[in-house]
């Protein structure tokens, strides 16, 4: 069965790029527009294998979203990758401390993204 990935980003362009790349690899992809939307989706969807989330988002930002996810028993150990830019080094560490599995630095090429995703859910 195809592994399911939840992509969370407020930018439609990023959702499209990441989603297309992952779908082409055979993953099932669902997308959230912000942390809150993603959280709703997560609760409705009945489980995903990985979350890839942006940090800077309206309504519920990435770190808060991550913390919420980690509060749920079912998703306590779910692989969680954050999308970040190189200028957010401190954010990276904050995310790590809040329980992120890893990160993908923007901008990235498709191959890099897929390599990182495979690394955490293969």
């Amino acid at each position: 069965m195809a592994k399911k990935i939840l992509i969370v980003d407020d930018s439609e362009s990023i959702r499209l790029v990441v989603g297309t790349a992952l779908r082409a690899e055979g993953y099932e992809v669902i997308v959230g527009n912000d942390g809150q939307h993603a959280l709703d989706l997560l609760l409705e969807s009945g489980g995903v294998n990985l979350i890839v989330s942006d940090l800077n988002m309206p309504i519920l930002d990435g770190i808060s979203f991550l913390k919420e996810v980690r509060k749920l028993d079912k998703y306590k150990y779910l692989p969680f990758l954050i999308l970040t830019t190189e200028s957010q080094e401190s954010k990276k560490m904050e995310a790590k401390q809040s329980g992120a599995t890893g990160w993908i630095i923007k901008p990235f090429v498709k191959e890099k993204l897929i390599a990182v995703v495979k690394k955490v859910i293969s």
Binding site: S11, R23, Y77, G99
Partner: protein, 693 residues
């Protein structure tokens, strides 16, 4: 990629709009921190998007701009009028270069340079644009030949809790080159043993061309929690050395990792030339984290809401229903106003009709998405499949702007994917075969979508070897689907392809041809109330045509009367109307009428519907409807006029027929039946076939 680029541009435009309004409210409210945050956030998103799409000139430009606001945000700089003026100028410039990202226009180029210079005066940078490191491009170190590294990887005991599997990291590491892996266990007494702890650690010797950074990359997510020591050894061929291998293997499962000095000593013994004084040790130490509170303001959330909103589908359904009711009520109003012959009332009623029509179009347009989204997904599929089959394929899409209900598009993806795979696998020939047959080396698979009537057609057209009807027929006979003496048209023969358990491929491949499939494809499409038809010519190619209903339940129709019963014919299929005398129709034996000097087949609906008596009037109306590429006349008694019909299902008692697709309530409360002209014509052609037999 084009669709993505389009999305990028669309979003960039939205962001710039957003930025403009934020800048303007910042100008009137310079001390409001949330405005600065908003400006920064929008710039940041724009920068990220631009760099993702490789538009470095835009990304660098926005980066510099963003730096200003970052400094203001951190109170390192004061917001001033010159800054705002420049930012607004930069905004105008960005609006232009979003579609000219390579600065091909001279004006844009000049503007770009000037603005960068201005921005740099604010952030105290001089000279050319700072070259940002593109983290996606690996900077390869100068490495001459392979180097042997010793890597000690001791994951943190809690590593499993992060969702990380250390074995994957080890196997990723060993993927870099020739290697020896020595696992160790940390001793734990039975009391302190915790099954969730990771007690394994590894010594890995790896001979690779890759740089030390590549090795560090493997551990990038665990570097702060795990102990990782990477030593570069001077000797390069240790991994394949038997004596060395035996020596390090003796450490397996011991509690202690292998000492670097020992390795170097051993290497000497193994017989390499000079000893390296000391190996370069790289210890990766945990980085102290800084925490930074992130405040999401309500304002930010509100701004975002403006660009697009999510609406629950219940509300949409409710809206559709209300619009339907409105259209029905409006019909009563029109009727009433016509009876009353009051010009004022008619004007009002006509205006309401116009408005309800527009409202209807907007309401129904909301659930539709262009089919392009799905088409572009197939590009990659075609590329991969054709590569693995050794075929050369040109993939063409047409009519991507055609809109369909989102749920239909989602259900359709898999069947289409299957059909395309079939075309590539069984349809198209290998390049050599094609050349022998004087066909272009490159095969073509075309995906085409278009509207016709109240349906959407999707065609998958290939110029491959086609399907041999005779082979299908023989196989159908062999499988007992049909008796040998039965005469069948090509269309009927090709229909066997959709029978469960029917597969004609001689060789079953990974790509397609497992014999499950086409029947599922057909079922999926039938579930969507659609139909699928195959046409094929040997040596020329195959065309599959899928017909799907539009989700619209309100249609523009032509209201007609047959034996005092009202019917609606969708206006979109109506071609022309003629008046014909009944005697002409009655005395007609070949079912052809000459209209405008052309012979047109016609259906006498009165007869088909079983009305014995002739119409009262002397003349009937013939409505010529188009169906795919033919034109057929349908006879009716009267034409009442154009009518906006809210099509309602007619219930389960009538489910065994399909030439009436629904019913609608007229202004006076009576009912009109909505004809499916396509099905009526099918019915007629089948009747005529039976009669000729």
């Amino acid at each position: 990629m084009d669709e993505m680029k389009e999305t990028y541009i669309q979003e960039a435009n939205e962001l710039l709009e957003n930025l403009e309004s934020s800048l303007l409210s910042l100008e009137s409210n310079p001390n409001d921190g949330s405005n600065i945050e908003q400006v920064f956030r929008v710039m940041h998103t724009l920068k990220g998007n631009s760099s993702m799409f490789g538009l470095t000139k835009i990304a660098e430009f926005v980066h510099d701009l963003e730096t200003i606001y970052d400094k203001i945000r951190q109170n390192e700089m004061q917001l001033s009028k010159p800054i705002l003026d420049t930012t607004l100028l930069a905004l105008d410039h960005l609006n232009k270069i979003i579609i000219d990202s390579e600065l091909e226009e001279e004006d844009n180029q000049l503007n770009h340079t000037n603005l960068i210079a201005q921005i740099h005066t604010f952030i105290g940078k001089s000279g050319s644009v700072e070259k940002k490191e593109d983290s996606s491009v690996e900077t390869e170190q100068d490495v001459e030949g392979p180097i042997t590294y010793h890597v000690m990887f001791a994951p943190d005991a809690s590593i499993f809790l992060d969702g990380t599997n250390p074995l994957i990291l080890v196997s990723e590491l060993t993927g870099l080159g020739k290697n020896i892996v020595i696992p160790h266990f940390k001793a734990q007494s039975i009391e302190e043993f915790n099954p969730l702890d990771c007690i394994t650690f590894w010594d890995v010797f790896i001979e690779t061309d890759k740089s030390i950074d590549d090795i560090k990359d493997v551990f990038v997510f665990v570097e702060d929690s795990s102990t990782i020591v990477i030593n570069e050894l001077k000797y390069t061929n240790l991994v394949s050395n038997k004596e060395f291998g035996e020596y390090v293997s003796s450490y397996m499962f011991k509690e202690k990792s292998i000492d670097v000095n020992e390795i170097n000593e051993l290497a000497d013994k193994v017989g390499e030339s000079s000893v390296k004084e000391s190996s370069k040790a790289v210890e990766v130490t945990p980085v102290k984290a800084q925490t930074e509170a992130k405040v999401t303001t309500k304002k930010e959330a509100k701004e975002k809401v403006l660009s697009s909103i999510r609406v629950s589908s219940d509300k949409l359904d409710e809206l559709m229903n209300l619009v339907s009711e409105l259209v029905t009520t409006q019909a009563s109003l029109t009727l009433f106003s016509q009876k009353n012959e009051s010009p004022e009332l008619e004007v009002i009623s006509e205006n309401i009709e116009k408005l309800s029509r527009r409202l209807r179009d907007i309401a129904f347009g909301m659930t539709l998405v262009p089919i392009n989204n799905m088409f572009s997904r197939f590009q990659r599929l075609v590329r991969d499949v054709s590569n693995s089959l050794g075929k050369e394929v040109q993939f063409v899409t047409e009519g991507g702007e055609t809109e369909l209900d989102k749920s239909i598009i989602e259900t359709l993806t898999d069947p289409l994917m299957h059909i395309i795979r079939n075309s590539l696998d069984h349809g198209l020939e290998l390049p050599e075969t094609r050349e022998e047959q004087n066909k272009p080396r490159k095969g073509t698979v075309k995906l085409k979508a278009f509207y016709s009537g109240i349906s959407v057609y999707i065609q998958i057209i290939d110029d491959g070897k086609g399907i041999d009807a005779e082979i299908i027929r023989n196989k159908a006979i062999a499988k007992g689907f049909v008796s040998p003496e039965q005469e069948l048209s090509d269309k009927e023969i090709f229909d066997f392809i959709f029978y469960p358990g029917f597969s004609t491929a001689e060789v079953v491949t990974d790509i397609s041809g497992r014999g499950v499939g086409m029947d599922v494809v057909k079922r999926n499409i039938t579930d969507l109330k659609g139909s699928i038809v195959v046409e094929s010519a040997v040596g020329v190619g195959t065309t599959l045509t899928i017909k799907l209903p539009l989700s619209l339940s309100i249609i523009d129709g032509l209201l007609v009367e047959i034996a005092k019963v009202n019917y609606i014919i969708p206006l979109s299929v109506v071609n022309k109307c003629y008046e014909v005398s009944n005697s002409e129709m009655k005395g007609n034996f070949n079912k052809l009428l000459v209209l405008d000097d052309k012979q047109i087949p016609f259906i006498n609906i009165r007869r088909e519907f079983g009305y014995k008596q002739q119409p009262d009037e002397e003349k009937s109306q013939i409505i010529v409807v188009s169906d795919a590429d033919r034109k057929v006349g349908i006879s009716v008694d009267h034409i009442v006029g154009e009518y906006q019909a809210v099509v309602k299902p007619i219930g389960k008692y009538y489910k065994n027929q399909d030439f009436i697709s629904g019913a609608t309530i007229l202004g006076d409360g009576s009912i009109a039946l909505v004809m499916d002209s396509h099905k009526i014509i099918d019915l007629y052609t089948e009747h005529s076939k039976l009669e000729t037999k």
